[in-house]
């Protein structure tokens, strides 16, 4: 036919992981719209961590990483996918002092996926024990703050301890999100996928 080169189809398995990554990126973007701006200089309360949790648990380090990378790239390209419908490379760097958290989500997903699956091709979520899930997601939260807080200090010139103090109240909230995420997995709502 009129094709000039042979068509090199993406194999069906890859397409399956790819579309899951795409949807989790879209889900993270949608969850960012539910971020609640807090008064004063406080970063927004945000549901984005759920995107990171599910991407890590469902997709593993490779495709989970692709999901969050897509999320960040689409934001850089101008889609209003960050907290409060923000976008742009400038926002990824600065944010509301929160740019580092966006990068933290990406690295956190890779870490969570690596701990949960211990290989690049993910296992079924149903095969992951609760302690492994909890460990993986806790590590993801640690990574998010380990990148987000120093970054915040870099951007705002606040001392590290002051930035940490500002963010500390969010930690218990993020742990609640972690619990909800595991409950959703245990409820079987993600299995069979």
């Amino acid at each position: 036919m009129a094709t000039e080169q042979s068509v090199d189809l993406v194999d069906d398995d890859t397409v399956g992981w790819f579309t899951k990554a795409v949807l989790l990126a879209a889900l993270t973007a949608a969850l960012a719209q539910i971020s609640i701006p807090l008064p004063g200089a406080l970063p927004p309360f945000s549901l984005q961590p759920f995107g990171m949790f599910f991407a890590g648990l469902l997709l593993g380090p490779l495709w989970g990483g692709v999901a969050l990378l897509l999320y960040v790239l689409v934001g850089i390209a101008g889609a209003p996918v960050f907290s409060n419908a923000n976008a742009g490379l400038g926002y990824v760097i600065a944010g509301q002092g929160t740019g580092g958290f966006l990068v933290g989500f990406l690295v956190g997903t890779v870490v969570a996926g690596a701990i949960a699956h211990r290989r690049t091709s993910p296992r079924p979520v149903a095969d992951l024990s609760i302690p492994v899930q909890a460990l993986a997601l806790t590590a993801a939260i640690v990574v998010v703050y380990a990148i987000g807080v120093p970054w915040m200090s870099m951007v705002t010139g606040l001392s590290l301890t002051r930035a940490a103090a500002l963010m500390a109240p969010y930690v218990p909230l993020d742990l609640v999100k972690l619990g909800v995420a595991i409950a959703i997995v245990q409820g079987g709502y993600l299995s069979g996928r």
């Binding site: 036919m1 009129a2 094709t3 000039e4 080169q5 042979s6 068509v7 189809l9």
Partner: protein, 234 residues
Amino acid sequence: MIAVRDLRYQYGAVTVLDGVTLSIPDGQYCLLVGPNGCGKTTLVRHLNALLTPDAGTVTVDGTDVTDDPVVARTQIGMVFQHPRDQFVAATVGADVAFGPENLGLDRDEIDRRVTAALDAVDLDGARERRIDALSGGEQARVAIAGALAMEPDYLVLDEPLVGLDWPARESVLDHLDALAADGTGIIVVTHDLRDLHERADRLVALHEGQVALDVPPAEALDSLPDLGIRDPRC
């Protein structure tokens, strides 16, 4: 030619296709009918290697589609039962261009095909419109244009007329006639044979996982009610 030989398929423990044999020569206009859940969608998905047979084979021009899906997917254009499931881009033009881009055609050729396909479904002006802001009928036509732009040898349409108003329905049917006249093979899945039974060359009815009827439409009409299909004349 598309040849389906002794095709079997089950979802879990439920057998849906239980030995379907069928061959569709180039350029034929064929209707596929049968009650809800009889396996029409399941069958047409095999033609495009979207499902893998449990037993039996599907070949397109001699190539087994499971071994080498490229031939099937480049030569058979598929319009899904739910058009909304089939879009991969945000705007009409980008979506219709998606198939040709993946064929690796050059930009001018892609442009020519997109223009021709949108023209064919009366959506010339809609290239920059967002798909999600279109009405149901317009979406159905974009889905058809996406398949046309591949310039496939065969076009498989799974209930393409559902939800279309009368003028839109007529326009799609006329376009299919034109394609058939140009030698494109057409397979239409439908519950509503009105207008179609006079246009098609052949009617295939599925029943209990097998081909229960395979004749020119005119000969089928009297036996349709026994298969749970409405006679379009009344």
